[in-house]
């Protein structure tokens, strides 16, 4: 099996704290791997390191055969890596449609000619003059945006022109995922996609992620709702205090005493876990 993403010895220290310690992980093409662990375990830090927002102190990250450790986030995105953010980072004053279109930025080609030196000025001129190729590209992306938004039923389509700041929390999370899909990613990093969602909404999101997975998309998922993790994951990787303490098939990980110890203290994982209160 070819590995799409291979992380070895990843380490990141903040002052005296080691947020991620000698972390290894490999994700194969088409696989859905979940990253779980208590708060502060280093999950989001790992995402930041993989997506280039933070630089590792040690270790290598290879994505699609190319080493991306320490590369700029925009360059990593151009290679086909899309991520969402734990607390939601939509472009507040942009409409839902524009938010998703920004996601397709790396795919713009007609309007972003690869001319040496004068490329940026050419881009400005093309944005102004809009020859046919540019118009067609924009129209095609707009059509695609609608298709992506349709994945969320009628949650977002009626709000196409609404500015993102006016959306509910759950809808902002959906816009983020739609934006990530517009990049046509080779791998999708989802950071707690169901945070702040009620059980119905969580169910919808789970169905969507399952559909994305079955369409062949490779997904790395951070999630606290363990029922969902168990149902979706091919493999689960458990972090605690920055270090990996277990990895394997969901049913094996849930029985691992080290995981139970670290993650929940004593009770079983994925059983009789109280659902969080629905958030209005």
């Amino acid at each position: 099996m070819s590995m799409l993403l291979e992380i070895k010895g990843l380490t990141r220290r903040f002052g005296g704290v080691t947020a991620v310690k000698d972390f290894d992980l490999a994700v194969a093409e088409g696989e859905l791997v979940s990253l779980i662990g208590p708060n502060g375990a280093g999950k989001t830090t790992s995402f930041n390191l993989i997506s280039g927002l933070d630089r590792p102190d040690a270790g290598t990250i290879v994505f699609g055969g190319q080493s991306i450790g320490g590369m700029a986030p925009e360059a990593i995105a151009a290679l086909g890596l899309a991520r969402t953010f734990q607390h939601g980072r939509v472009f507040g004053n942009l409409s839902v449609e524009d938010n998703v279109l920004v996601g397709a930025h790396t795919r713009l080609s007609a309007v972003r000619p690869r001319w040496p030196v004068i490329g940026p000025l050419g881009e400005l001129a093309l944005a102004l003059l809009r020859p046919r190729a540019v118009k067609q590209e924009e129209q095609a992306l707009r059509a695609e945006t609608r298709d992506i938004l349709a994945l969320f039923g009628d949650r977002l389509i009626p709000r196409l022109d609404h500015p993102a700041y006016s959306l509910s929390y759950a809808n902002r999370r959906r816009v983020e995922i739609a934006r990530a899909l517009a990049l046509k990613p080779r791998i999708l990093l989802l950071d707690e996609p169901t945070a702040g969602m009620n059980p119905t909404e969580t169910g919808e999101m789970q169905a969507l992620i399952a559909a994305l997975k079955s369409s062949g998309l490779t997904i790395l998922l951070i999630e606290h709702k363990l029922d969902m993790v168990m149902a979706l994951s091919d493999r689960v990787c458990v972090l605690d205090n920055g270090a990996k303490i277990a990895e394997g098939a969901p049913q094996d990980v849930r029985r691992d005493p080290a995981v139970i110890e670290a993650y929940l203290g004593h009770s079983g994982i994925g059983q009789a876990r109280p659902q969080p209160e629905p958030v209005a």
């Binding site: 997506s51 280039g52 927002l53 700029a72 986030p73 925009e74 995105a77 151009a78 899309a82 991520r83 953010f85 607390h87 939601g88 980072r89 939509v90 472009f91 507040g92 004053n93 942009l94 524009d98 938010n99 279109l101 920004v102 996601g103 930025h105 790396t106 713009l108 309007v111 940026p120 000025l121 881009e123 400005l124 944005a127 102004l128 809009r130 924009e138 500015p163 993102a164 700041y165 006016s166 934006r179 990049l183």
Partner: protein, 607 residues
């Protein structure tokens, strides 16, 4: 050798004065995360209150200092209470802009009360000087050093050993946590403003005595020097501010010794830019380093923009073109021509500050580049103006983008400071590069506008030319905003981290925005030069930059129609009411304050 000691003493004395300013700025930044642009105004007020006390009440020095201390503390508390406290929870840029508005108002009030002409500030200190190694130290030097060291020591004791001092430090570290622990954050803010302003006022008094000269225009430079000292020491860091001030004082003093007084400010601003870019946390910046900007959409006020129907916009444009046919009064046409020139600048600034979120406080620098480019091309090379004006636009576009490029990595407040410094540097380079720019003399005899040999002289023709350029720029800008380019710039403004994660190269798009905006600003400056026929390094000063910013905020950040409207209102109306310059700036200040408080999205709404 003797002069070396004299320059050192002078540098340390000036450094001490800067320290009194910088410490206050650092304290304020610490508790409210705000660079207080009104600080220099309080310093000026301190100097004038001292002057009034000495002149009218014949107070001895200790009493004068006590009066200044108390009065400026009260001014500081008033600034906090009236100007800033109501803005809690609004967009992060709001308090910063409010302090600019406050400084406009305070400076103009001082000017209206005491007149703009400089005054002597006598001191009753004994006249002896102590000789050391060839140099000498006077009583005033010792007093300034004493006040500086004494204030630092008192501040240290206050912050370290008093309960209120604990509260200040707690608020500086984590405002929310302090609030939850029962710290009265408002009282802390008020106290800090009082202390900072009192020290600032004393600093103004001492400077006035040192140079035996005070004038209302001293405030802006004081604010800038305080900021430079702070950036050197680490923004928000009190001991750092003191060290930074002394270093700045010494560097300036030695620099003047080597190159002459016109270079004084150049050192300060170049130092500022270098530090911002290579050492943004300063020499001692650690914990209280500048914080990253907040997430999503907090930079500008979210709002529903007012969209005028297309036919209405075309009708208004038509009416504007037809106006000279109906009302031919040259005064009216010249006033509106000024409004169109301001509109070119506002269009440029609204793209950078509003659409791309890169607040620029140095926009007048672009005007100056454009003006000098066209003026020198016509005067020195006899090039025709129909060629030099577009050329000036392109030169401004290229040079402006090149100058700002290193500052692109900065965010939020720091880019505001950097652009301010870049604007000042442009003016100072013009002043000092005599072989090219004729230095302080300025450029005289700039020929009038002409197209293919036809001189455009009549107010009507100038009006039409400028209006046509505004309309063309507005159309191009609007079209760009509806393309992927506009979407990308707004994404960068709303959340640059998310934008980068989606493959947007920030530098490329910011540079393009500045390149396009620079063109319009350069053209505006060039036309102005030909209309004035004389320009110098002060024709386009920082006040022009801040006025342009007020126009942009009035119209609604990023709003093309709003920028033109803001220019008409702020450049046109005061002229039509024939207000004098002092009252005009007072009104700009008040407009800015009212807008920030009651309508942050401006007249037409942000886009």
């Amino acid at each position: 050798m003797s002069s070396f000691i004299d320059y050192t003493v002078n540098g340390l004395v000036i450094g001490n004065i800067y320290a009194l300013l910088a410490v206050g700025l650092a304290l304020i930044f610490g508790v409210s995360n705000l660079i207080n642009f009104a600080h220099g105004s309080v310093y000026t007020i301190g100097a004038y209150i001292g002057w009034a006390a000495i002149t009218f009440l014949h107070t001895p020095l200790p009493v004068t200092m006590a009066i200044v201390f108390v009065a400026c503390a009260l001014v500081g508390m008033a600034i906090e209470r009236i100007g800033l406290r109501p803005l809690q929870g609004s967009a992060r840029i709001a308090p910063l802009l409010a302090t600019i508005g406050i400084s406009f108002v305070l400076d103009q009030v001082v000017q209206l009360v005491f007149s703009a002409s400089p005054r002597a500030l006598p001191n009753d200190l004994p006249d002896w000087r102590i000789d050391i190694g060839g140099g000498s130290i006077g009583a005033l030097d010792l007093l300034i050093a004493g006040v500086g060291v004494g204030a630092a020591a008192l501040l240290f004791v206050f912050l370290r050993f008093t309960k209120l001092g604990f509260a200040v430090r707690a608020t500086a570290q984590d405002r929310e946590a302090a609030l939850q622990m029962g710290v009265n954050v408002n009282a802390v803010n008020s106290t800090v403003f009082a202390i900072a302003s009192a020290l600032g006022g004393i600093s103004g008094l001492l400077v006035g005595m040192y140079y035996n000269h005070i004038d209302p225009a001293m405030s802006f430079q004081a604010t800038l020097k305080g900021i430079v000292a702070q950036v050197i020491g680490g923004v928000g860091n009190v001991p750092g501010a003191i060290v930074g001030s002394l270093l700045l004082g010494l560097i300036e003093s030695y620099g003047i010794a080597l190159l002459g007084t016109t270079y004084r400010n150049l050192f300060a601003f170049v130092l500022l830019i270098l530090f911002l870019i290579w050492m943004p946390n300063g020499l001692f910046g650690g914990r209280s380093a500048p914080q990253s900007e907040p997430l999503t959409g907090a930079f500008i006020a979210p709002s529903k923009p007012l969209r005028l129907p297309r036919w209405a916009l075309w009708a208004m444009t038509g009416a504007a073109f037809a106006l000279p046919l109906v009302f031919g009064a040259p005064y009216l046409l010249q006033t509106l021509t000024n409004a169109w020139l301001a509109a070119m600048l506002a269009l440029s600034l609204t793209l950078m500050a509003g659409t791309a979120g890169q607040i620029s406080f140095g926009h007048a620098g672009l005007l100056a580049i454009g003006a000098y480019a066209s003026a020198l091309l016509t005067v020195d090379l006899n090039a025709p103006t129909w060629l030099t004006i577009p050329a000036a636009g392109l030169i401004t576009s290229a040079l402006g983008t090149l100058l700002i490029f290193p500052a692109f990595r900065l965010r939020g407040h720091t880019i505001a400071i950097a652009t301010l410094a870049i604007g000042e540097v442009v003016s100072l380079v013009i002043l000092n590069w005599e072989s090219l720019t004729r230095g302080a003399m300025g450029v005289t005899g700039i020929p009038p506008l002409s197209i293919f040999g036809h001189e455009i002289y009549a107010p009507r023709e100038v009006y039409w030319l400028c209006l046509a350029i505004v309309v063309a720029l507005a159309l191009v800008q609007t079209r760009l905003l509806t393309s992927h380019f506009g979407r990308t710039l707004r994404a960068i403004r709303d959340d640059d981290v998310a934008a980068r994660s989606y493959g947007i190269r920030l530098d490329r798009y910011k540079a393009l925005a500045f390149a396009f905006g620079g063109f319009g600003a350069g053209v505006s400056g060039a036309i102005t030069a030909h209309l004035y026929s004389y320009i110098n390094h002060q024709t386009f000063d920082s006040q022009v930059s801040l006025l342009a910013l007020t126009m942009v905020i009035l119209g609604g950040m990023g709003n093309v129609v709003g920028a033109i409207l803001g220019a008409i209102v702020l450049a046109g109306l005061p002229e039509l009411f024939r207000l004098t310059a002092e009252y005009r700036i007072l009104i700009y200040g008040i407009v800015l304050l009212l807008l920030i408080r009651f309508r942050p999205q401006g007249l037409m709404g942000t886009l």
